[in-house]
């Protein structure tokens, strides 16, 4: 501590060490938050449902997605990534997931939303298993904090069924 350089160095190292500790504590404080998000998805219409020339099934649907994810936001949350996936079982694979829509929620004010959209990404099965298939629509989300640990969770909405015939 005998010169300006030594004092500046000691101060800087100590200050950055404390900053790291504060960030760690901020991340730990996220554990005190117990979120209670809600989501609801309706399939309003199957726009078309057909077999592609390469024998893969493809569906286009109109969706109504409403969700309240405000409780996911804490003071340490940067943004929340949400996506809606169709999940179903085929003889070959026990779990198939197809992302139909996604979005980035930048702040708590935008976390209660309602959207009417056709599927943003194409709903294509690798095969022709979709006729009359029962599937779940699942809202997944990843909470991205400013510092520290990421959290992810989902809400599964079962009981959707695709039509028996191509249209």
């Amino acid at each position: 501590m005998h010169s300006v350089g030594y004092r500046a160095n000691a101060l800087l190292t100590f200050a950055v060490t404390i900053l790291a500790l504060m960030c760690g504590m901020a991340s730990l404080s996220d554990n005190f938050n117990s979120p209670s998000p809600s989501a609801h998805v309706q399939v309003l219409n199957i726009n078309w449902f057909q077999k592609q020339p390469n024998a893969n099934d493809e569906v286009s649907m109109t969706l109504n997605i409403s969700a309240d994810l405000q409780s996911l936001f804490t003071w340490n949350t940067k943004q929340v990534f949400v996506f809606l996936a169709a999940e179903y079982e085929t003889p070959k694979h026990s779990l198939n997931q197809i992302s139909l829509w996604d979005g980035i929620i930048p702040s708590k004010e935008h976390a209660k939303f309602w959207i009417h959209t056709s599927n943003k990404y194409r709903f294509i099965d690798q095969g022709s298993n979709l006729r009359g298939k029962e599937y779940n629509l699942t809202i997944h989300w990843h909470v991205m904090p400013k510092t520290g640990k990421m959290f992810a969770d989902k809400i599964v909405m079962p009981g959707f069924r695709l039509p028996e015939e191509y249209r």
């Binding site: 005998h2 300006v4 500046a8 101060l11 100590f14 900053l19 500790l21 901020a26 404080s29 003071w75």
Partner: protein, 93 residues
């Protein structure tokens, strides 16, 4: 900066940084604003730097008191060889 001043500067630096960290974290958490925490802490670091890094006069209140050169000449270091001869002479007498 003298010895006491160095000790004071180090203690001031550590205590002030910790205090600002506690204040910043508390107010950031209460106001639910991460940015507020960072701003308060950054302000605290700048203030602590200004207070403890430059060589302020109040760090120099306990200067080391060295002996005056002339004072040292009046009391020269005793010569070991001269001492030994003296003692031997006294013993013989």
């Amino acid at each position: 900066m003298d010895w006491q001043g160095q000790k004071l500067a180090e203690q001031l630096m550590q205590i002030m940084l910790l205090a600002f960290a506690v204040i910043a974290f508390g107010s950031g958490y209460v106001m639910a604003s991460f940015q507020m925490m960072i701003l308060i802490y950054a302000g605290g670091v700048v203030f602590t730097t200004l207070l403890t890094v430059p060589n302020w006069p109040f760090f120099n209140r306990h200067p080391l008191i060295w002996l005056d050169p002339s004072e040292a000449e009046k009391h020269p270091k005793p010569q070991p060889s001269a001492n030994v001869t003296h003692k031997k002479k006294s013993v013989k007498k």
